[in-house]
């Protein structure tokens, strides 16, 4: 199994503890409530910088292996230890999370003006707590700790939606919670059973001890696989368990939706790659065709529902259902090119969807509505918002040169090698994408100028939009560094589903494809 390289300095613990302590300090120390936003922004920016510093110790040439690892005994009686460590996939996901959190705080800067100070400080404290959990989830090497954080994540989200959301926020918060909890508790049965079926002992939950060591008959393996997969499918919203997502984003504040869809939902796809495949390779292979079919249904269903949406927040949620379909398709295709595309897509989608949510948030702050019909001709009122929306939209419909193109291309190419039929059907999702982005754009931003005066993006919002656009362009024109980081992980994990083609061949092919794409988009 994969080797684990211990860290010289506990970087990951530092990042997590820093975020938790900052959240607690902000919550408990009253005088800080006045400066909650600057405090939160500086802490989250510091975390991002520290993460970049930590990466200097990460050997990118060996990105397939767990690095920066730390292992502490926690509850040996039930076989769990606090074990952190990241491979290439973990690095890019933590990078995404720590990049988005400061932007979300910056974008929400004025959301609580004129309200009690404790409201803003509560918001920032929950976001920081959530950031700690996100880092922990992507760094967890212990199945129990991963599960624990997976469940714990619900609490900050529940409060963020329920306290800071729209008029129906309580219902939305409860619906979000129950869906996630059902998934999580089903996974709990799997977690318990994996330990029972695994090697056991005081470190029986460590991923490297469990991978390839879960015993049991084919049907037990399949049930275990399903217990994990269902939780991840609810999280990553896949058809038919996606219905909580539009209801949640409709009510949640834009910043919270950004983190929810941009990062937290990726835990679903992340979990499929990092846990489902190495723990239950046989069952994953057996279930792959059905899952791929469901993924294609997700792609189309999400696309159609997005076109039919009247509410912008719902629309973005449905586009994400469609995009998550692509990711899941890539994961279970068993092709390392497609898998590479998936991991890259997880980052690209986080940035592009985050930009869409935040832009709609900016727009809704001016127009006081998420409904498409309440707008029209706003290009002339707020040209910068229109521009940002268009760029983010185009990135999410995979225009070459923007973040969505390379990964979607890789997934489709990789899937085509495995299952041409599914790949061809999935291509229709790309066509739907053009409709669901451009049609709302037309209805909201084009047309005669309405008789209203609203300020365009101010300096703070320009920074947010600018950084997100820069990230989209970076992922579009120069995806190579990210691709190089995630490819070894993809190759290691795709191999378990491989039927006959050789890993090395498809690996080289990924190289070619990536270079080709990078050159193409540069032109």
């Amino acid at each position: 199994m994969l080797s684990v390289n211990e860290a010289a300095f506990p970087w990951l613990t530092l990042l997590i503890v820093l975020a938790v302590v900052a959240a607690l300090v902000l919550w408990l120390i009253k005088p800080l409530h006045k400066v909650a936003m600057p405090f939160g922004l500086s802490v989250s920016a510091l975390i991002f910088v520290l993460f970049l510093v930590a990466l200097t110790e990460f050997n990118f040439g060996d990105a397939g292996n767990m690095q920066l690892a730390e292992t502490y005994s926690w509850i040996p009686a039930i076989g769990t230890s606090i074990a952190w460590g990241v491979n290439g996939m973990g690095v890019v996901m933590i990078g995404l999370a720590t990049f988005l959190v400061p932007l979300v705080l910056l974008a929400s800067w004025t959301d609580f003006e004129g309200e009690a100070e404790s409201r803003a400080s509560g918001f920032v404290a929950w976001i920081l707590f959530l950031e700690a959990i996100m880092i922990g989830i992507f760094a967890a090497r212990d199945v129990f700790v991963f599960y624990l954080l997976f469940e714990l994540m619900l609490i900050p989200m529940f409060f963020l939606i329920g306290r800071y959301g729209g008029p129906n926020r309580q219902k939305a918060a409860i619906k979000f919670l129950l869906y996630s909890l059902v998934g999580g508790l089903i996974m709990l049965v799997g977690v318990v059973a994996v330990y029972v079926q695994g090697p056991g002992g005081p470190q029986g939950f460590l991923l490297e001890n469990l991978a390839g060591a879960v015993s049991g008959s084919t049907s037990i393996q399949m049930l275990l696989f399903l217990s994990f997969f269902i939780a991840f499918a609810i999280k990553a919203p896949m058809f038919p368990v996606h219905t909580w997502l539009p209801d949640t984003t409709q009510e949640a504040p834009a910043g919270v939706s950004t983190l929810l869809v941009g990062v937290l939902d990726k835990i679903g796809t992340y979990g499929m790659i990092a846990f489902c495949l190495p723990l239950f390779p046989g069952a994953a292979k057996e279930a792959a065709p059905v899952i791929m079919a469901l993924a294609v249904v997700s792609i189309l269903w999400g696309g159609f529902m997005a076109i039919a949406s009247k509410d912008l927040m719902r629309l973005i949620a449905y586009t994400s259902v469609s995009h998550f379909g692509f990711m899941v398709l890539g994961i279970f295709s068993g092709n390392s090119v497609a898998m590479t595309g998936t991991i890259l897509y997880m980052v690209a989608h986080g940035v592009a969807t985050g930009a869409l949510f935040l832009t709609v948030g900016f727009l809704a702050k001016r127009g006081q509505s998420h409904k498409i019909e309440d707008y029209g001709g706003w290009q002339r009122v707020t040209p910068l918002i229109a521009g940002t929306f268009l760029i983010a939209g185009l990135a999410s419909i995979a225009l070459p040169g923007l973040s969505g193109f390379v990964p979607e291309y890789l997934i489709l190419v990789g899937t085509f090698k495995v299952s041409p039929v599914l790949a061809i059907i999935a291509v229709f999702g790309v066509i739907l994408a053009a409709l669901y982005i451009l049609w709302p754009y037309q209805r909201i931003f084009t047309g005669p100028r309405p008789a209203i005066e609203k300020p365009d993006l101010d300096g703070r919002e320009k920074i947010v939009s600018g950084l997100l656009i820069a990230a989209m362009l970076f992922l579009g024109f120069a995806p190579a560094p990210v691709l190089d980081t995630v490819r070894p992980v993809a190759e290691d994990h795709a191999v378990v589903l491989l039927v006959d083609s050789e890993a090395s061949v498809s690996g080289a092919f990924a190289d070619d494809a990536a270079t080709l794409v990078a050159e193409g988009s540069a032109k």
Binding site: A77, L152, I155, Q170, A173, V189
Partner: protein
């Protein structure tokens, strides 16, 4: 020959109870309350200390049978002292200690949760006079100690007769205590009568079962019966029927369906501090007794018992969750939640493994502490009338709206307890569920565990509904929290801290339980 030293924890409690009765007769009225409170607290705390001392003895010398024949050779049975007994006694005493703080508490105006004079007729002039004179019904402290003594010996009983006597010693004072609520006294007395009648009924089942087991084996001691189970007497039907009937008596005490009917009414009618105390204490003691009974005698008929246990578990979880969803009264909601928890705990019990014992013990500790804390908070949230006078407890869920704004501390503590009930990570409830489910899966009862997780997802709905009321809604007219003499808030905060500590650092407790979870015959 009796090993008196091994009986110290129980003797301290029962002795103090008798002393309390004497104090009732001789201490002047004004001084009674402080004297009784101090006596009860010292008794519980010193009993807890002696349990720790006994644990050092037992872990050094091994378990003993407390009563021996005069020549010291044969083992009479009756009482045993082993790791499991001490573990459960420690858990009961810890819960009793915090529960005692809640029981002893009064509002700043000196108004406790108990009737000024429980013997007066509700609504009568006598009652009014007693209330105006601010009389105190201090007998509740000796009564509580008597029932605590019963709980301690319930888990240690090594024969069916001792078990029955313990059962009655623990139950009778509780019947009386249930009837002593200060407000809505008719409801309280009705609840007590219901509890008493149904309790007597279940005692009947218990005795019938004991008689059948005596018929099967010619003995009342666990040791004697277990020997006959191994050798066989050709009367297996007697054994199965006897074990089932005794089990019914015990299932009644833990509030498992279909013997749960008393729970919601009694929990609602009893004075809230007593509700917390009996919800925690009775359940822990009854599960301790059930574990010993099932693991020593029941293993012989494990195969035949399985369908019974499965049915009880499934029905209990379903009734607890479904009925809990419909409740609008917080005490009834917590009552149904306790029924659902009984179902989850039974999964650990029915695994018939050593892990099952320690999982059950941990779960009970987590549940007991959180329950006492939650009911403690209920005592402090009160209704007010139009002029702002403080009335009884605001048990309607609507009245809890906006508690997060009016009293953040209580709301946060309540949230901790609710999260623990729901089994959210980093609370003791999560580790408890995890342990119980692991025991269940390891014993091959994965189907039960799947049903249990679905049930706990459903129960989460009503816990989180209360959280949304407290934090996402604005405060309503007609309810406010009261300041008290301070015992309750100490107990509540202690419970919240223990709940989180057990969720984050459960290792020492798990180690201790792993070592202690062995029954001697």
């Amino acid at each position: 020959m009796i090993d008196w030293a091994a009986l110290t924890p129980t003797l301290i409690i029962l002795g103090s109870a008798i002393l309390g009765v004497v104090f009732e007769a001789f201490v002047p009225r004004g001084a009674r309350r402080p004297v009784q409170v101090v006596l009860a607290m010292i008794a519980v705390a010193s009993s807890l200390v002696t349990v720790v001392w006994r644990w050092t003895v037992v872990s050094a010398d091994g378990p003993t049978s407390i009563a021996m024949a005069p020549d010291g050779s044969t083992n009479v049975g009756t009482f045993v002292e082993d790791g499991a007994v001490l573990a459960f006694q420690a858990i009961i005493l810890m819960c009793a200690l915090v529960a005692l703080l809640v029981i002893a508490d009064r509002t700043e105006t000196g108004e406790g949760s108990f009737a000024a004079s429980a013997a007066t007729q509700p609504g009568s002039t006598d009652e009014r006079e007693a209330t105006v004179a601010n009389l105190q019904q201090t007998e509740i402290f000796p009564l509580m100690l008597f029932s605590l003594g019963g709980m301690l010996s319930f888990g240690a009983a090594g024969d069916l007769l001792t078990l029955f006597v313990s059962l009655e010693v623990l139950s009778l004072p509780l019947y009386v205590l249930t009837a002593t609520a200060r407000r809505r006294r008719a409801l309280s007395q009705e609840a007590a009568l219901k509890y008493f009648v149904l309790g007597a009924f279940s005692s009947g089942f218990f005795l019938m079962g004991s008689a059948l087991l005596y018929g099967f084996s010619g003995s009342l001691t666990y040791r004697g019966i277990a020997t006959k189970v191994l050798s066989g007497t050709g009367m297996d039907m007697l054994l199965i029927a006897g074990v089932t009937l005794v089990l019914v008596g015990l299932l009644f005490k833990v509030g498992a369906a279909p013997f749960h009917a008393w729970t919601p009414d009694t929990y609602q009618g009893a004075p809230t501090p007593i509700t917390g105390y009996m919800a925690a204490g009775t359940k822990i003691a009854a599960f301790a007794a059930m574990l010993r009974f099932l693991y020593v005698i029941g293993t012989g008929v494990q195969w035949e018992l399985t369908p019974v246990l499965w049915t009880v578990i499934i029905v209990t979880m379903c009734i607890g969750t479904v009925m809990g969803l419909l409740q609008t009264d917080i005490k009834r909601m917590l009552a149904y939640s306790s029924i659902a928890h009984a179902g989850f705990i039974l999964i650990g019990v029915s695994s018939f493994s050593q892990q099952g014992i320690s999982a059950t013990a941990f779960y009970l500790l987590a549940y007991g502490i959180a329950t006492v804390g939650a009911f403690g908070i209920v005592t402090l949230v009160r209704e007010t009338d139009a002029e702002g006078n403080i009335l009884g407890e605001a048990t309607a869920l609507e009245k809890w709206q906006g508690l997060g704004k009016t009293n953040p501390l209580l709301a946060i503590c309540m949230t901790v307890f609710l999260l623990s009930f729901a089994g959210i990570p980093l609370t003791s409830g999560f580790i408890g569920k995890f342990e119980a489910f692991t025991a269940g899966v390891a014993a091959g009862n994965a189907v039960l565990v799947v049903l249990a997780v679905l049930a706990s997802a459903a129960t989460a709905f009503f816990y989180f509904r209360l959280i949304t009321y407290m934090f996402f809604r604005d405060p309503v007219e007609g309810s406010q929290t009261v300041a008290s003499e301070g015992f309750s808030i100490v107990a509540i905060i202690a419970c919240a801290i223990i709940t989180i500590l057990l969720g984050v650092f459960p290792q020492p407790v798990l180690d201790f339980l792993g070592e202690a979870a062995v029954f001697m015959l």
